[in-house]
Structures are given as C-alpha cells and as structure tokens.
C-alpha cells in the first residue's frame, strides 16, 4: 500500500503529486522547527543585559514566540532566538525599562 504520510523535509525531495500525502498532511510534530523563518527581518532586537531586570514582559508579548527562557543563564534569563525572530519590534516597544533596541540588520 502507498505510504500516506511524509515529513516536511522528505517532501522537499518529492515533486510528484502522486507521492504527496493526501490532504497535504504533515505526519511529524515539530517539523516546522527545521525551517528557519527569520530571513525577512529588517530590524533586529538587541537586549542590553546591563539594563534587563528579567521581568519577562518581552517573553509574554513576543508573538512568535521567539524569546526563550533560560534556566542556566549567566547574562540573562530571556534570550532571543534569531532563527525565528521576525523583527516586529513588539518586545522593544513593551520592555518597561527600554532595555531592547532595534538595530538595522546587516546583510
């Protein structure tokens, strides 16, 4: 019997519709992690850990969410994952002590 489910990364190698899963189902959870989504970012948020108070506001507001909570932190508890941050600037806007600055992305 024809296999019904494939993973996203497998699909990339399968151009024919006959081999694609019916209903365009993605059979493996978390497969989106394999795709980096930050390439469209124009401004990059930078946290100044000298100012940051670990209040968690940026983590709460990030819509991605691209801000991770570190338990083994040295410099800060809240760290931005630039593989997924889209540069929307919400964290910078919401940070109560303005510890985040948006810096133009260098190509």
């Amino acid at each position: 019997m024809k296999r019904l489910l494939w993973r996203v990364d497998e699909m990339a190698k399968m151009p024919n519709m006959e081999d694609m899963p019916i209903g365009f189902v993605i059979s493996k959870a978390g497969s989106t992690c394999k795709i980096k989504t930050a390439s469209w970012r124009t401004f990059k948020p930078i946290i100044d850990y000298n100012k940051c108070t670990d209040c968690s506001w940026c983590w709460v507001y990030c819509p991605e969410p691209a801000i991770e909570v570190r338990t083994d932190f040295k410099k800060g508890k809240y760290v931005i994952n630039y593989d997924y941050c889209k540069g929307c600037g919400i964290c910078a806007e919401e940070c109560p002590i303005k510890a985040i600055t948006m810096v133009k992305e260098e190509i």
Binding site: M11, N16, M17, M20, P21, I22, G23, F24, V25, A29
Partner: protein, 403 residues
Amino acid sequence: MKVIQKNRLALSGNEAVAYAVKQAKVDVTAVYPITPSTAVSEKISEYVAKGELDGELLLVESEHSALSACIGAAAVGARVFTVTCSQGLLLMHEILYIASALRVPVVMAVANRSISAPLNIWCDHSDAMDQRDTNWIMIFVLSVQEVYDRMIQAFRIAEDFRVRLPIMVNYDGFTLSHTYSPVDVLSDEEVSPFLPRREPPFKLDPKNPITLGAVGNPDYYMEAKVQASKALTDSLLVIDEVDKEFEKKFGRSYGIYRKFMMEDAEIAIVGMGSAMGTAKEAVRRLRKEGKKVGALILNIYRPFAYEMLAKELKDLKALGVMERALSPGGVSSPLMSDLLSTLYLNSINIPTMNFIAGLGGRDITIDDFRKMFSELELLEKGKSKRPYLTYVGLRSEEREMVL
C-alpha cells in the same frame, strides 16, 4: 429492478435524510437552520433527545461554523453530517474548499433553494451551482426514495480511502424536502455492515500529533490542488461501485445518470433534479404520439462523467439541456457548459439548445417540456428562430428568447 419490501414508511425528503443520518450512526451533526432544510435538524435533535441517535448535535451560530465544526470532528475520525441550502450554503462557501482540500469525509444534504435577492425560499439549483468548483462530489436526486438511498451511499463513498472527499446530496427544496412519499427504508442491521467503521488514514490525535491544514507554498500548492481534483475525477469509479453493491444488497440503484426512452431517441433533454420526473412524463406522452424523444437524468454532476455522456449523446439529432440555474453574462448555464465542452472534445456536432426554467420555484410543467421538445424538433430541421439560450415561461417583450 427487484423491490424488497421490508419496511415502507411515509417520509418527507427532510425526514428521509434524517432517518439515513440516524441509521448511519453519525457521531457529530453541526447545523444552523434554514428553510427548507430545517426539518432535518429538528428531526435529528428529536432522535438525539430520545436516545435513538448516540451522537453529538452542535447548534452553532452560523453555517460557516457548522461546516467548520464538521471538518474538525471529521479530522479526529468522527462520522459527520450537516445540512443547509441557499444563503446558508453560500455562507459556507470558503469552508467547502477547505473540507475537500483537507480530504475529510463530510456528508452534507442540500435542500436546493434559490439565492437572494429578491428573497425567495423556493427551489432552483443556483445554490449548488455556486459550489461546483469546490471539489465536492455533487449528487442530484429525483425522488424521496433516492435521497434516502443516496444519503446511505454517501457515507460509504466519502469514507472510502480511494476517495476521502466531502459529498453534497442535493434534493430539491419543497418539491422533495417537504413532499411525503412512500420510502422503502433499510433495517439498521442492513445499514451497519454497509457502513463499516474504519480507522481513517490520518486523524488528529494528541498522542500522535500531525499537522492538518499546513501552509502550501508555491512549490507545493499546485500539486496539492491537482491531487484533490484528480481524486474527485477518479471517485466516479467508487461512486458507481458503491451504487452497484447497493443494488446487489438492497435491490435499488441509480447510476451516474439514467436514461429514459433513450434507445432510439433522436431528440433528448438532459437535466437534473425532480423536474426530470416531469420530463419523463412528457417523454412518455410524446412517445405515444410517435415522437422519438428521450430524457437523460444526470445524477452525479461532479465528478462529471464526460466520456460516458459523450457516448450516450453522440447519435442524437438535437439536444436540449434544461437547467434551474443561470450563469449571468456567460455563454450558457453551468451544466450546458460542461456538456458543450464534452460534445466539442468528442467532435460531436449536434444542434443544441439551453433551456433555463423553474428559477425561484416556478413550476416546470409537462406542457413546458412539450414546448422544449417541439422547439428542439424545429432546431433539428433548422427552422428554430430562437436563440441558443432560451427562457421557459419568462415574461418579456423579446418574444423570440421566450418559450
């Protein structure tokens, strides 16, 4: 056709649909009421209240939500049903595409009704024709018995692994939805093995997560859409197979289309829905007068059986297509467009005429069909002065386009 008389009930079309839903042991019914289909949900709610149907009845806030709820329930592997028509079906429109693209086996009954404005609650096929490109299987029926039988078949077809597509069973509003007819129903013991429960090829399950409804980027979208479209075309085989098995087990079948006195017919009318019952009577009478006429009743509109139809129609001398829908500003009505493509692709060059009739519930009488047939007779002889698109019973100063 042998008739097995086991259990004959007097049912309206709406009640026949509800009865089939009960026997199919539908898990989730999500509905929003709309005339003339409301009685279906009322009857189902009665079944659920009495404990005759062990299923969930969701009364949602709109048709858009009704179909959305059905998709969600079907995605976890439930057998689902909804019913609507007219504006309700139009409100579902965008969700119809999603149901077929996600390949969930939703069964929906549509008590065909016209579209506003002007506000009109009576029958025509405008609501269904508005959905023809949504990748659903579209069945049209002629009688209350047929709507019951097709509803039972619908669950089997939709859930077949080779199909996995939603199905719309169209039955004419009021003409069928509210008319009581004797219906030979199957026993529950007969229905259960005909509609076996099977583990779906994929389902939403927290223990085994999958993604349904992912983004299809330009590098996948086209394949996904064509794949679903191909599945619809291929479903013709399964629809036929299920119908044949139904006949073998229960003695009734309908086919992709059925022919009435078509054997040596020179002039024929093709159409769908209950009005074709009237067409049959007109043919019967005209045959007594020695006219070589026939009728072809199309039961399955999508997928469109163009190869089979070309074979049936190729020897005619004139062809008429009666349709209860308009395609404003277009070449012809939807069914006629499909048939014209069919004829052209098969190099069949016969004179044709498109009859628009019965919009907004206007009666289509035996006399109307007589007029259509005599016009086709003139057309065959090259003497018809009417344009190719002709309106039956329209009041207009432009007399030549009115029949």
